[in-house]
Point group: C2
Chain length 338, copies 2
């Protein structure tokens, strides 16, 4: 039995039957029940392809990853948050992994052509993100996690990275630290630039000169952070405080501090950015870790909600959310040792 036959049997349009079977709110409850009963009685099994052709909705959100490595702790927490929203709505997340940045653009083109997704979550934007430009061209609705400047309004949710770093740096300066190392994200990413701006603003406000030797731009892994922190601790005068871009980075810096025979929270201070990974809790570290905190999982859930709003017709220029970031002081940050 095809959708067409079921629709004819009921004297309804295929679109109405299809929407009823998918629980769309446009169809009233009585009709929905009548359709469900007939489908059950006649043994009709909906076929996604047929349903999608009829309703024009794929029931899925797309996420493109550049390389398998991109599904690390940040992305998986974010995706958990997206999934938490989708779970009660029978909407799936279609994850496409590509092997390079060039192929990422091709992947969006394929998603547009195949109509397998209704919208896309765009992540880790650059200052002028060509993927965002392409998605506008392809007319695929999307919400950006982060911000970009492409001269056209896009829907976005971001955390206040500038404010977070300005406050954390300012706090360390107030404790007497003058050589503060910034372990920042990759160059060209918007969030890295925003964090650097906050860091520089705090230094500048207190008249502390900027030393480029104290800034590193890398991926957020324990291993890279460990090596970079080792070299940095060999500088003279050495940094007395570290701003770690993620909890993974903090673990690597912490290891280098211990290996140098220094004590965290006494000889050297650290404030880490905490995306709130459930398995790596700042309160559970030893010593406990001072952090700038914002849940990346909550951001994922909220972005899923915003996508639903965009699909319901809300204009992209009205979907702009900037989340404040908390500064949580614990044992890892203290006065500069003389």
């Amino acid at each position: 039995m095809r959708l067409k036959d079921l629709a004819e049997h009921l004297g309804l349009s295929q679109t109405t039957v299809s929407r009823a079977l998918n629980g769309y709110p446009e169809v009233n409850e009585a009709t929905r029940r009548r359709v469900a009963e007939a489908a059950s009685a006649l043994g009709y099994r909906p076929n996604a392809s047929a349903l999608r052709l009829a309703t024009g909705r794929a029931g899925a959100i797309g996420l493109v990853l550049r390389g398998a490595d991109e599904l690390g702790p940040h992305m998986s927490e974010f995706l958990s948050g997206v999934g938490a929203y989708m779970a009660n709505r029978e909407i799936d997340v279609l994850v496409t992994t590509v092997a390079s940045q060039q192929e990422e653009l091709a992947a969006y083109r394929r998603l547009a052509a195949s109509q397998k997704v209704d919208a896309v979550v765009l992540h880790s934007p650059t200052l002028k993100d060509e993927r965002a430009e392409l998605l506008l061209d392809l007319k695929i609705p999307f919400v950006l996690h982060g911000r970009t400047n492409i001269g056209h309004p896009v829907a976005w949710l971001d955390i206040d990275n500038t404010g977070a770093l300005e406050r954390a740096t300012g706090h360390l300066l107030d404790l007497g630290h003058r050589r503060i190392a910034l372990f920042n994200g990759l160059k060209g990413r918007t969030f890295s630039q925003h964090r650097e701006i906050g860091y520089l603003a705090a230094l500048s406000a207190r008249g502390v000169p900027f030393d480029s030797a104290l800034i590193v731009n890398t991926a957020f892994t324990d291993e890279i952070a460990f090596r970079m922190a080792q070299s940095m601790l060999e500088l003279r005068p050495r940094p007395t405080a570290f701003l770690a871009g993620s909890m993974m980075t903090a673990l690597g810096i912490f290891r280098a501090i211990r290996q140098a025979g220094l004590e965290l929270g006494r000889d050297v201070s650290m404030i880490a950015h905490d995306d709130v990974f459930p398995y790596l809790n700042a309160d559970n570290m030893y010593p406990t870790m001072s952090t700038t905190r914002s849940s990346i999982r909550q951001a994922g859930t909220r972005i899923a909600e915003l996508i639903a709003q965009v699909l319901a017709g809300k204009p992209a220029e009205d979907v702009h959310e900037l989340w404040p970031v908390e500064l949580v002081l614990r044992e890892s940050s203290g006065p500069a040792s003389p």
Copy 2:
């Protein structure tokens, strides 16, 4: 322009044109090029729904998660491995998140009805897994990560959990440890049972009595492990060695050891199971961590390959892979202190 029109223009069947556009190996290179050129010249944009109806392939693999929490470090590494295989093949992973175990079965039924996926990766099996039984009923091809016993052959890949724990426990016994705590996974999961069997086998082989107070069955989080290890270190005589089910568990136990004023590798020993998370490296811990090691990412990639074999017609009973697990000795395990 529809697929039908393009096929008529070329004098080919819709199936051939569809396969050519999707790069299926059944279509020779000359035909593929002819179809691509005509599609481009005539402005034909393939529509996934139409393609799928023609080819019967969704171009996606399904993965169902029970709750957003399930996308933790283990699952995301596993999924990275699956993605690494899919990346070069333009196959996507459709991630469905459900809010409860009951809904998981409904999700598989929906996947079967909608034909959105060609096959499913089934993970974290129980000893007699009802999801595996359902997938057989629904005739959805699947490969199991782990093993189950449902009286019907299924395709699976698993690591040798029994052998790993037997060797790790035996090593600690040989170092003089007699009270060895086992931090195991959830009861009912096949891998937890296999690990317990290996642990008991090693004790029994050396005539060391088993103490049920030294076994805990929990989820693998730092927080739970910390609390359980705290209580366990209050036992008298206390355990002199720990077998940690994951690196997250090891972090929590390590914290409890430090907080009790004990030194890991001297006062207390630990061997942890290492799924090879890139951001949590056993060599980088301080002290370095002895481990039983098997890459969960590699398992994901291999399972994706096995799914391709199953879809190509290989019988499920011929797809059984048991991977050995390495025991890697580092600083965290040493002789029992007198």
